[in-house]
Each structure stands twice: as C-alpha cells, then as structure tokens.
Subunit: 350 residues, 2 copies
C-alpha cells in the first residue's frame, strides 16, 4: 500500500500524467506540455501546483470549461507583441508556445510581449519565466483570475492574488527566480493547513464576514502582501492582462454577473533579450555576484542563513530529482482515480 | 515671515525651480523637465520627492556627480527597445525624452522598453508611468540605486528599496496609478518621523547592528515589504535595470569597492500601447469599472472607505492645485539659499 511517503520518479510521474491527458483528448504535444509544467512544480516542492491538480483539470474538461484541443488564434501581432486568444485552452498548451514566440521576437527586436485571453490554469508561472532565462533572456509572467482577495482596506473579495514570476540566468548559479503571489500567503498554503488541521497565522485571510480568522476552514478571502502594495500590484496586473485582451475578470464579479466566478485566466508572458543590450556572459556573472553577495550577509535573528528567492525550491528540486517526488495519500487517490478511469497503469512506486 | 503653512502656487514654484536649474547650467528644456517632476510630486503631497530636493541636486552638481548638460547617447536601438547612457544626467532630463521615445515605439510595434544607465535621481517614478497613460498606454517605470535595504532574512544592507510605478488610463476616473517602493515604508517617511521627533513602527527599519528599531534616527536600513516578496522584487529589479546596462549597483557594495555607495541610478521605462491590442475607450471604461467596484466594497475595520492606489495623492493634488503647495520651514530655507545664490526672486508667498 502506498503510504504518505510514497515516492515516484519524476519521469514516471510525467509519463503517467501525459498519458492521462492524451486519453482526455489533448494532442500528444499538448499533453506533454501539461505534464511537464505539473511535474516541474512537484519537483520544486510546489505541490499545490503539481499533479494533485489532475482531478480538477479533468473536472474542467468534463464540464466543458477546458477544451482539450482549443482553437488557439493569434489575433494581433507586431514584431514585438502578440495577442493570443486561448479559446479555453489548458494553460501550458497555449502558454509554452506563446513563450517560444516571445523569445523569437525578443531575439529579433530585444523584447517580446504576449497577452493571452481565456486560458485555463497556467500552473506555476515560474516555469514560463524560466523558459526565457534558459534562452539568455529575462522572463516575466503575470496571470489574473476571478477575485479571491480583499483589496487593501476592504472586507470583501475584490482582487485576485495575481502572481508574477521574473527569472534571469546565472552562470555558476541556477537562474535567479522570483515567483510570488500578491497575497501574504498563496492559496495552496491554506489548503496545506486545512489538510494538517492546523491554524493559519492572523493576517493571512478573512472569513465570509470580512473578519480576520486563524481557521483555514473559515478563510474566505486572502489578504494582500504589504497591504496597499500587494493590493495595488494585483489591481494593475488585471489592467496589464485582462483589460489588454478586453476580458475583465474583476468587474463582472462586482456587477454580480452570472458565471463571473467561473475559473479562467488572462496572462502576460514576456522575454527581454540580454544580448541585445549587453554581454550575456558578463550579465550572468553579475547575476551570480548578487546571489553570492546576498548569501554572504549576516542572517537576521531567527534565520540561520540568508536565502535568495527560489533557493528553497531549488533545494527541493535537487533532492527530488534523485530521491523522487513524495506524494501524500490524497494526491495518490486522485492519481488512482485517473488511472482507473483511463486504464493507465500507475507510475512505479504507487 | 514665511511660516510652516506658507503656500506657494504650483506655477510660481515651478518657474522659480526652473530658473534655479537654468542658472545651475541646465538647458532651458532640461530645467523645465526637472522643475515639472519636482513640483508634480509636491502637488501630489509626495514632498519627499519635491522641491526640498533642490539643495541636494545643487550639491550633486557642485561635486560634479551630476552633469547639468550631459552627453546622453543612445547606445542600442531596435524598433522596440533602447539602451541609453545618461552620462550622469539629472533624472528627468534624460527620462522624459526616453519615455517619449518608448511611447513612439509603442505606437508603432505595441511596446517600447528603454533601459537607462547612470542617471541621477529620477524623482517620483509615477510621473513617467503617467506620461504613457496620458497617451493611451500602460506605463511602467522601475529604478535601482545603491543598496539601502536589508534583504529578507539578513541583518545588513544588501538591496535597494527599488520602486515600481505602473499607470493606465481611466475614462471618468483619473489614471490608475501605483507608485510603490519595495520596502515597508519609503525612506521619506523616516525623514518625516525624524523631523517630527516621533517613533517609527517596528518592522520599518533596522539599526546599524541589524536590530529592529523604532527610533528613526537610529534607522540604518529599510526592511522589505512582504518579507521575501519585496526583497525578491528588489533583487529582480536590479537584474532588469542595472544588469541590462552592465552597471551593477549592488555587487560593488558587497565587494567594498570605493565610491560604491555614491548616488546614481539605472532604470527601465516602458510603454505598452493599448490600441494595438484592443479598443482604447472600452479599456478606459473597464479601468473605471475596477475603481468603481473596489470603492463600492465594504471597508475593513479601521477604515472609513476603500481607496485605490494613488487616490490619496490625487486628493492632495486636487486641493493643492487650487490652494497652493504648503512648504515647511526647512524647505523654505533651502529655497531661500538657492534664491540668494543665483539671485532669483523667491516665488510669491514666501
């Protein structure tokens, strides 16, 4: 029997996940993209964005909210920008090719900037920013959903805790990666607290009446990081994504429109080519210098070392690539259900 | 005698400021740019970035750190991007023309993105983002200086509290403007506390030993907003600005290089053209919808209303355009000193 500590090798998990999505109607390439983004998140320890999402994605497909073979169209294009209608595509299926396109544009004119309308869940945004960094570019990715966060000073939902990911290449070091939600705590952390039956810190969330709560089961809305700062970023991210594609996700909720809260996303993915501006190897060495410099600083009280953004995830990655990905019982049940439904053997170890 | 409540009309203050900088060697156009950025900050109540800076700028000119007539050069250019060497230009003198150029590029290819090397203090970054919004675009501006903030988990200076400004146009409403530092509190707020002789909240700053302090006079480094989030943004902003122009501002300080802490900046200014992607009037109406929706939410405990980013400053602006700009005694002394030095009459009211 699989226990809480059952570990699965990334390749096996990816093969399984890809097979599931192929059976669910994705093209082989689309299924590969979807599986890669999910398993990458698991490898980095961001399990909230990993294969535990499979069951939700299947639900979205069953309901017809997510189209396995969407009619993705480029609606606008210049040498530097793109507007892509995703037609309710699975996130990675539209976004990986979109990032490749902005990388091509950045190679030619220094920057590529794509806005994407009506994609479904893109997964861990860092994946897309990292794609650009691997090509010698700065990658930027932003995404907005219907609201789940109280704006600064409000006790009702009015913003999405829209994340931003920024990634640039290092030389000796791994790429420098920031992948942050604009809320104090990402939604996934509340789920973990629920699963473990432990309270959440005050300041993470409000209950349905807009009162502060430490009970993750009563948490109805997230709170913005840094008060007006996280709130302001989230508001402007909606303006940079949803409003640019003519598909507001916040105002329909304010106006109480039907289906306004149904999951869908609008997004920006961008790449800025380093070699267009400066020497790439020198850039990477300078990026290393920042990592080295910050890590050499004396730790604050309560810290044993200073870590740079992405470093904790990178450590998990290094370990899980070798030791495999540990899957909790709840996730294993979801995989078993998909295995049964599509007649696909579970990955080795389960 | 001028008292603490002396008020000066914006036009008078701008004329005076422009005359000072012309006498200090700026071109008439450069002096006009400099004066406009300073007085705009005063109008919005961001007095830390207003005319009280005149004396510091004159000091930078006297020391030869700031060049009144710099040799500004475009080093790289594509249809979408620019790399500008500012040659130690006063911030607005290089940045206002740079924003005009990115707006031109955005009009043609959807986006314009400029990185600027070695400018001096750019002032309130919102000014530049607003320039783009007035042209029907999203404006983005980011700037980095030598470090003044402790990275998350460290008790020593290692990052700059680099601000970002994002601005988009509204229709009925003023442009939506976020202009935020990546620290909990901007440096100017500590100066205000010093002047008033009041303590600062715990969590704003550390003393020279990296211990939390509530004494603004002992505050030696700022703390990042949202812990790792503000810290991560600041780190990646250095990568998007300084590293792209081959002019790191953090690593020379880590390495103890001479003059590493001398004030200078690297910056990104960018514009994304709305009409390239979608209908501009509809965009503006949708932006209004966000403002209306957020403001209609019930206020949280301790708040009497929900405000959107930039709203408090806009209210001050509305009042000061009519009533004039109140200048504290310390600022008036600085203006008097410049008046005497250059033989320029003080603005009416002082």
């Amino acid at each position: 029997m699989a226990d809480q500590n059952a570990r699965v090798q990334a390749d096996d998990l990816k093969r399984f996940t890809q097979a599931v999505f192929e059976k669910a109607g994705f093209t082989p390439e689309g299924a590969e993209h979807q599986a890669d983004v999910l398993v990458w998140a698991n490898l980095r320890g961001v399990d909230s964005h990993g294969v535990q999402r499979i069951s939700w994605y299947l639900e979205l497909l069953d309901k017809g909210h997510m189209k396995p073979r969407p009619n993705i169209r480029i609606e606008k294009e210049t040498p530097a920008v793109l507007l892509i209608d995703a037609d309710y595509s699975p996130g990675p299926v539209v976004t990986i090719p979109a990032v490749r396109k902005v990388i091509e544009k950045a190679r030619k004119v220094g920057i590529g900037w794509a806005v994407i309308r009506n994609t479904l869940h893109q997964g861990a945004m860092g994946y897309y920013a990292l794609m650009a960094a691997k090509e010698g570019m700065a990658g930027i990715a932003i995404v907005c959903n219907p609201p789940n966060m109280a704006p600064y000073g409000a006790r009702a939902v009015g913003l999405h805790n829209s994340p931003i990911a920024i990634c640039v290449p290092g030389q000796r070091h791994r790429p420098l990666m920031l992948d942050m939600a604009t809320s104090v705590a990402a939604g996934g952390k509340l789920d973990v607290a629920k699963d473990k039956g432990i309270p959440i810190p005050l300041g993470w969330a409000l209950d349905k009446d807009g009162k502060p709560t430490t009970d993750p089961n009563l948490a109805e809305m997230l709170l913005p990081a840094g008060g007006g700062k996280g709130s302001g970023l989230a508001m402007l991210f909606e303006c940079l994504t949803s409003l640019f594609v003519g598909n507001p996700l916040l105002t329909p909720v304010y106006q109480g429109k039907p289906n306004a809260k149904v999951h869908r996303q609008n997004s920006v993915v961008a790449a800025v080519d380093i070699a267009t501006f400066t020497d790439l190897e020198q850039y990477k060495a300078n990026a290393d210098g920042i990592v080295d410099g910050i890590k050499a600083l004396p730790p604050a009280e309560g810290f044993t070392e200073v870590m740079v953004p992405g470093e904790p995830e990178e450590r998990v990655y290094t370990e899980r690539v070798v030791q495999g990905i540990p899957l909790p019982e709840g996730t294993i049940l979801k995989l078993k259900s998909a295995s049964k439904r599509f007649g696909i053997p579970l990955p080795a170890g389960l």
